[in-house]
């Protein structure tokens, strides 16, 4: 192209509607030619543009975004249209709407050498249409945004738009659109938000809020919610606020979590500080106490100030050599938890070395790389528990030794499950092999016939009435059928609800003792029998002589022989009481019950006694006609004994008064004398075997102290009671009571 043509070409361009011709200059472009129109629009002189690199041109002359497009066209070598856009040209007060086209000009080698950037001033509406589509796009974006977004218009804050999220967040539907904020969300009245919005509107300043609490009507309920929000003022071209954009997110769950977290941190702190477990957090290689609670200070016997922030071994140098040091080192080295159940812990106190039993755990605290940076130590002072246990263990051990050395068998019976648990010794006593099961039923079957129902009854009244169980009985060995004598004692144990849970006790083999006793009783029986034999002929001779003397009217002989007979009878009575005793102790007193009138028996006895003793005034003062179901002979023996005692222990000429009364279905018989009376201290033991009141006055009165014992045993076997009331010097009254025969 020659220079003239070039000039013409440029001139043509200047006059045409096209904008610019850009010449390729390395990576950029320079302005080669400018149309008058372009100069007009931009208000620039041609000489300020020709030859200029586009990169040096301001936005107002050459929009920056076009630069990008130039490169695209250069690369694609195809003509490209630019959508109408708003161009605010330099020196122009108003925006104009232009459309543009970029056309490449190629040389023979098909390289881009020029670009023709032509612009066209188009109708404002076209650009506005673009606005509209941008707007649609914007609204669409708002709707899809993951936050609540809405726009309020005008001073009335009319809800012009609100995306679904904002509506949900408010708890409202699209029906609130185009309503003023006050009407749309009436619950905000009195809360700070409406005022804030007014401020934003008035001052045109944006506002943000963090975790602000609002009460909103959601699903018919006024409920608290937390929001992060921004109020952005929207202004018109003149910079006047015309509306507010609201951006808000519901952070209620987040706030709730945060609150819970804070609560749990507080709780945890409380827990640590108030728990009765001693807790300690040690940090760094020097084991510096970072956290410790009151329980730990108590455990150590140290003050808070003596502990916090100090290295462990400085606080408690006495730990040197104790196991804790080793445990801690190991946890630091291995990063593994460690928890000994029971350790003895020695510590210094002002009064010497203290000793405590402690249960520990050591938990390492690991950093992100897995290195131990501290250790949490938990400790519980179990001293009281351990000492209690040791005490119990010692007591149990002692009991065990006692039971074993006494060769006692022990048993537990659960009345609910009927399960019997016994010690090995007890199994041995019953003749079982060690591994064999003993049941309640087999045990009862082993009790000999004569004792079986006695044992069963005793167990029953123990379980039901809580009576203590104390019984001697014989059993037959499980295999050898050998007779053995046992003494069992026990009682029922109840739970808090008073339900019997355990019936247990001990069992002693008393076979040897029992055999001794049997031998003794047999011996006594034999002796009494043998003593009675000469007495029999003696008595017969005395009586025969007596009757002869009476025939011969030999008064002196009659008198002497009557006294001799009295002595024989006395001796016989003594022997007889021994025999009775031996029979009683051998368990051989059997009651032969019959129904008879008690008053008749009493009368008979008084008659009999009066025959031989005329020195006392023996009388029945009151006696109802009462029938009893009892052993007539033995009850007679008791009455005889009581009257005999009354005579024996009271001076001649005194009264012996007998009464019998019916009180609450029981017959009560009393024998009152005006004798010596019984000292208080002797009353309790009066019915014991061989018990005699020691007194100089009584030295001359014979007896073995068997009578009352026998009487009380006989009365007890009748389910009766026997007792005494007495005053020294005034006399005694002996009572016994028996169940009256039930009226038919």
């Amino acid at each position: 192209m020659d220079a003239q043509n070039d000039f013409l070409f440029k001139y043509f361009l200047e006059k045409s509607l096209y904008g610019l011709v850009l010449k390729r200059q390395g990576p950029s472009f320079s302005i080669y030619a400018v149309s008058n129109e372009y100069l007009y629009i931009t208000g620039t002189a041609e000489e300020n543009l020709i030859g200029k690199d586009i990169l040096d041109l301001p936005e107002g002359i050459f929009p920056f975004f076009i630069r990008e497009l130039l490169h695209k066209v250069t690369a694609s070598k195809t003509e490209t249209d630019v959508q109408p856009f708003v161009f605010r040209a330099q020196h122009q007060s108003e925006n104009i709407c232009i459309s543009a086209r970029i056309s490449p000009v190629l040389n023979e080698a098909a390289e881009v050498v020029f670009l023709i950037y032509s612009i066209k001033h188009v109708d404002q509406t076209i650009c506005t249409e673009g606005d509209q589509s941008n707007r649609d796009y914007f609204i669409q974006m708002i709707d899809q945004a993951p936050v609540g977004i809405g726009v309020l218009r005008g001073k009335e804050m009319i809800v012009e738009s609100a995306n679904q999220i904002l509506l949900e967040l408010w708890g409202k539907t699209k029906s609130i659109l185009n309503l003023p904020m006050k009407v749309a969300l009436p619950e905000l009245e009195g809360q700070s938000f409406l005022r804030l919005l007014e401020d934003v509107y008035t001052w045109g300043e944006a506002m943000v809020g963090n975790e602000s609490k609002a009460y909103l009507m959601r699903q018919g309920r006024l409920e608290p919610a937390y929001f992060n929000f921004a109020y952005q003022p929207l202004s018109n071209n003149k910079g006047e606020t015309t509306g507010i954009m609201i951006i808000a997110t519901d952070v209620t769950p987040l706030v709730a979590i945060k609150q819970r977290l804070e609560e749990s941190v507080a709780n945890f702190r409380n827990l640590v500080m108030t728990t009765h477990y001693a807790l300690l957090v040690l940090k760094s290689k020097d084991w510096i106490v970072e956290i410790a609670n009151q329980s730990l200070f108590d455990l150590w016997g140290r003050q808070k100030e003596e502990v916090l922030g100090l290295p462990l071994m400085k606080i408690m140098p006495e730990l040197q050599g104790q196991s804790f040091q080793e445990h801690l080192s190991k946890v630091y080295q291995t990063g593994l938890s460690y928890g000994p159940d029971e350790e003895i812990f020695f510590y210094n106190t002002s009064s010497g070395i203290g000793k405590k039993y402690v249960s520990f755990f050591y938990d390492p605290m690991l950093d992100t790389e897995g290195n131990v940076y501290g250790v949490i130590v938990g400790a519980e002072d179990i001293t009281a528990r351990v000492e209690n246990r040791q005490k119990t263990e010692r007591a149990e051990e002692m009991l065990r030794i006692a039971i074993e050395s006494a060769n006692l068998g022990t048993w537990h019976y659960d009345p609910q499950s009927k399960r019997l648990t016994v010690s090995p010794r007890l199994k041995e006593l019953f003749g079982y092999k060690l591994g064999e099961e003993m049941t309640y039923d087999t045990v009862i079957a082993q009790v000999t016939d004569e004792y079986r129902s006695i044992v069963q009854r005793a167990i029953q009244s123990s379980v039901l009435k809580g009576e203590s169980f104390n019984l001697e009985f014989s059993i037959k060995g499980y295999y050898d059928q050998k007779l053995r004598w046992m003494r069992a004692t026990g009682r029922i144990y109840r739970d808090k609800e008073n339900i019997p849970v355990r019936f247990s006790g001990i069992l002693i083999d008393i076979t040897e003792h029992k055999q001794d006793e049997i031998r003794k009783n047999d011996f006594i029986a034999m002796v009494s029998h043998e003593l009675k034999t000469p007495l029999t002929s003696l008595k017969a001779y005395v009586q025969l002589l007596g009757s002869k003397a009476r025939q011969n009217k030999d008064e002196a002989a009659v008198n002497s022989l009557s006294k001799a007979e009295g002595q024989v009878n006395k001796m016989n009575n003594m022997i007889r009481s021994f025999l009775d005793l031996s029979r009683l102790e051998a368990g051989k007193i059997n009651l032969e019950k019959q129904v008879f009138p008690l008053d008749e028996l009493i009368e008979e006895i008084i008659e009999e006694v009066t025959l031989t003793d005329k020195s006392h005034n023996i009388s029945i003062s009151e006696c109802a006609s009462i029938e009893v179901d009892a052993d007539r002979e033995k009850i007679g023996q008791v009455i005889n004994n009581l009257i005999g005692n009354a005579i024996k222990y009271s001076p001649q000429g005194k009264i012996v008064e007998i009464r019998c009364l019916l009180i609450d279905q029981r017959v009560q018989v009393s024998v009152r004398d005006e004798g010596l009376g019984i000292p208080k201290e002797d009353l309790a033991m009066l019915f014991d075997r061989f018990y005699r009141v020691e007194s100089r006055k009584l030295k001359t009165i014979s007896g073995f102290g068997i009578g009352l014992y026998l009487s009380s045993e006989i009365i007890k076997r009748h389910n009766g009671q026997i007792w005494v009331e007495s005053e020294e010097g005034k006399g005694s009254t002996f009572y016994f009571s028996l169940p009256a025969k039930e009226p038919v």
Partner: protein, 124 residues
């Protein structure tokens, strides 16, 4: 009329005592220390009453009493059992005695029992 009393008692001292007690009144006392065959003695003496001590060598008084009471011919002969042990000891055995006296007995009581219990007219 002769009244025969058969007595089995191991205390020989008692032979004189019994003879003294039943002297006169037409009583005849047959005294044995022990016996293995009470029936033979009954056949031989045909007593009107039998007095047995309980404790004997060989068969005891209770066993002898049972034999008497089990015998068709002699079962009606009254038996008086004597013992130094009280009566209740023997209650369970039920040997069938007609009377019991505990030693030492009352002479008069013994005489009364014999007088009332003895079967008359068993003379040879």
């Amino acid at each position: 009329m002769e009244k025969r009393i058969l007595i089995v008692e191991n205390d020989l001292e008692m032979e004189d005592v019994f003879k003294e007690i039943f002297q006169g009144d037409d009583y005849t006392v047959f005294f044995y220390e022990e016996t293995e065959d009470i029936i033979e003695l009954l056949e031989k003496h045909e007593p009107g009453i039998v007095i047995l001590d309980y404790n004997l060598n060989g068969l005891n008084g209770g066993e002898l009493c049972k034999l008497v009471k089990a015998h068709s011919k002699f079962k009606d002969i009254p038996v008086l059992l004597l013992s130094a042990f009280p009566k209740f000891i023997y209650n369970k055995e039920n040997v069938g005695y007609d009377a019991f006296l505990e030693k030492p007995f009352d002479v008069e009581e013994l005489q009364n029992i014999v007088k009332h219990k003895i079967v008359n007219g068993r003379s040879k």
